[in-house]
């Protein structure tokens, strides 16, 4: 039997089952904007965990991590450095964000800025930063999907064709199912990802080197500099490692899709519990590194490190197993892409287009525009994936540096009354300008430091200085937000209301008494 036919049949079967689950997840639910974006705010521990794991563990995990282990060596360890820390940050900030979200019926990250700072233009700017940063993240998934099908078909199906078919499916189930569909497909995706990662992470070093210890010993003998900083790179040394770990730890939950995922939870307590268990899932990361390091010895000289995992799997295992790994990889691209598209489309329609260009739009019209935007964003990411050739990890770092610039606005908005619209606007604009300048002029790292981290430091400093020098009063209040009590209608009172809400423990988790898991 033709091995490419076997592999492709299994991949198609897995993708079809995943897509059907996504399509049927909407049954008996009215798909309005609230249900589409935040799942009716009724997710228990299991669905929140599935949604978060589904969003966080992407093609970046599957192909990107092994790809950097293969092509860069030591610097890839930054992924293990930030993996536990991001959940510590989420433990403290997500329940507070959820609290504000529940009270003001927020659906997006930009909604949070709207409520906290009372400025439509700041909210629109946040939406713009979110959408622009999401495009490289969607591009990662598109590129990953193309690589998987191309390798699994032994080159018979071209990468571009694979990308187009896969993303027509993704757009289809985002259209029909929204965030609930994504959470349910994550069940299949997470199960397959865990099983295949554990299996190949241990099996590949065992088959070729007698175990993980043997693989590392062989690597140290063959390429002694690969496992230490800066590995196979010239400039990714210890300062880059430390600043990148800090940047990602602070900025990780500023990705608008992770931020919005907190609104789906039934209570803040669920988010805290989720933060406790999530680091365990990251154990898949070192397993992917083992495959990447093994690949360097088994299949040296690959032009693209992102191909290393699939190349080794194709070389080592039968075609049916390549099909399972490919199917898992395809869902690992499609599930996060779906939520990224959904978030980007909602941000654009609700927080950028409506308030700035069409204030008279109803929620129904916003939902319709968001669905059209899913197609627009998919097409944009497809074009970029076809015409650019950055590695998956580089794309991710690019987007991460952008969204991390939202961190001062969020964290100071939660914990300080003094932060105001002018300060946050100025800080964010400075951060974005610095990171864009450094990255576009090839200065990342700059003096050994991560460019995004340098920008974040400028951002914090400018936010603090401008907030300190300007009056606390914010610019204005968006009339489209849910009605607030008359006593809170001024923007200064809004600041106080949000601050008091997150500062007083008595109002937390009011609805989290029972029925926590589903």
């Amino acid at each position: 039997v033709n091995p490419s036919l076997v592999a492709l049949t299994i991949i198609s079967g897995i993708v079809t089952i995943g897509s059907l689950v996504g399509f049927f997840a909407r049954f008996r639910r009215k798909m309005d904007l609230e249900q589409w974006t935040v799942g009716g705010r009724g997710f228990g521990l299991v669905l929140v965990w599935l949604l978060m794991a589904g969003e966080i563990f992407t093609t970046f995990t599957f192909l990107g991590a092994s790809g950097w282990a293969y092509s860069k060596g030591g610097p890839v360890l930054y992924i293990l450095g930030y993996s536990p820390l991001i959940y510590v940050v989420s433990f403290f900030i997500l329940p507070l964000i959820w609290e504000v979200g529940r009270k003001y019926r927020l659906q997006t990250q930009a909604d949070f800025f709207q409520v906290r700072y009372g400025s439509t233009y700041l909210s629109a700017f946040v939406a713009l930063v979110g959408v622009v940063s999401l495009i490289p993240y969607v591009q990662i998934q598109v590129t990953g999907l193309g690589l998987i099908v191309e390798i699994a078909s032994f080159g018979a199906i071209h990468r571009t064709t694979a990308m187009i078919i896969g993303f027509a499916l993704v757009a289809g189930f985002v259209f029909t199912s929204g965030v609930r569909g994504v959470a349910w497909v994550s069940i299949i995706k997470d199960l397959l990802l865990l099983l295949t990662a554990v299996f190949i992470g241990f099996a590949v070093p065992h088959i070729y080197f007698g175990g993980i210890g043997g693989m590392f010993a062989a690597l140290v003998r063959t390429k002694p500099g690969h496992l230490v900083m800066p590995g196979a790179t010239k400039d990714l040394g210890h300062p880059w490692y430390v600043t990148t770990v800090l940047l990602i730890s602070f900025g990780f939950y500023m990705w608008p899709q992770y931020f919005a995922a907190s609104f789906t939870a039934r209570s803040g307590r669920i988010l805290r519990r989720n933060a406790v268990i999530m680091p365990l899932y990251a154990i898949t990361m070192p397993l992917m590194f083992f495959v990447g390091f093994s690949a360097l010895l088994i299949a040296p000289g690959l032009s693209n490190g992102d191909l290393s995992l699939l190349t080794v799997v194709r070389k080592t295992f039968p075609a049916w197993f390549l099909g399972i790994v490919g199917g898992a990889g395809a869902l690992t691209a499609m599930v996060p892409a779906a939520i990224q598209l959904l978030t980007g489309a909602t941000l654009y329609s609700k927080n950028l287009f409506r308030p700035i260009l069409a204030p008279g739009m109803t929620d129904k019209q916003v939902a319709k525009l968001a669905k059209i935007m899913v197609l627009v964003l998919t097409s944009g990411a497809l074009v970029l994936a076809i015409y650019t050739s950055k590695s998956l990890v580089s794309l991710w770092l690019l987007g991460s540096a952008g969204v991390a610039q939202l961190f001062p606005g969020v964290v100071l908005g939660l914990f300080s009354k003094r932060a105001n619209t002018s300060g946050v606007f100025a800080g964010m604009a400075t951060g974005i300008t610095v990171v864009a300048f450094l990255m576009l002029t090839g200065r990342d790292p700059y003096f050994g430091l991560n460019a995004g981290f340098i920008a974040l430091c400028f951002n914090f400093a400018v936010t603090a200085i401008v907030s300190g020098l300007t009056p606390m009063r914010a610019a204005g209040v968006d009339e489209t937000l849910p009605a607030l009590p008359a006593s809170q209608s001024g923007s200064e009172n809004l600041v106080n209301a949000v601050h008091e809400m997150v500062a007083r423990p008595k109002s937390r988790d009011q609805n989290s008494v029972s029925d926590e898991s589903r």
Binding site: P84, F91, I212, G213, F216, P279, I283, P286, K506
Partner: protein
């Protein structure tokens, strides 16, 4: 090498396992505070 892993690898991987333990402790400390302040739960407020 520790358990077949270079020491830096072992150190980083061990924190993936230790973090949930410490955070479980933090959760146990944090939750009673929230519960104590919930009047409908017979809290102290």
């Amino acid at each position: 090498m520790v358990l077949g892993l270079p020491f830096n690898f072992f150190w980083l991987i061990s924190w993936l396992l230790l973090t949930p333990l410490f955070m479980w402790g933090a959760y146990r400390v944090e939750e009673p505070r929230a519960l104590d302040n919930r009047p409908e739960q017979g809290g102290k407020e």
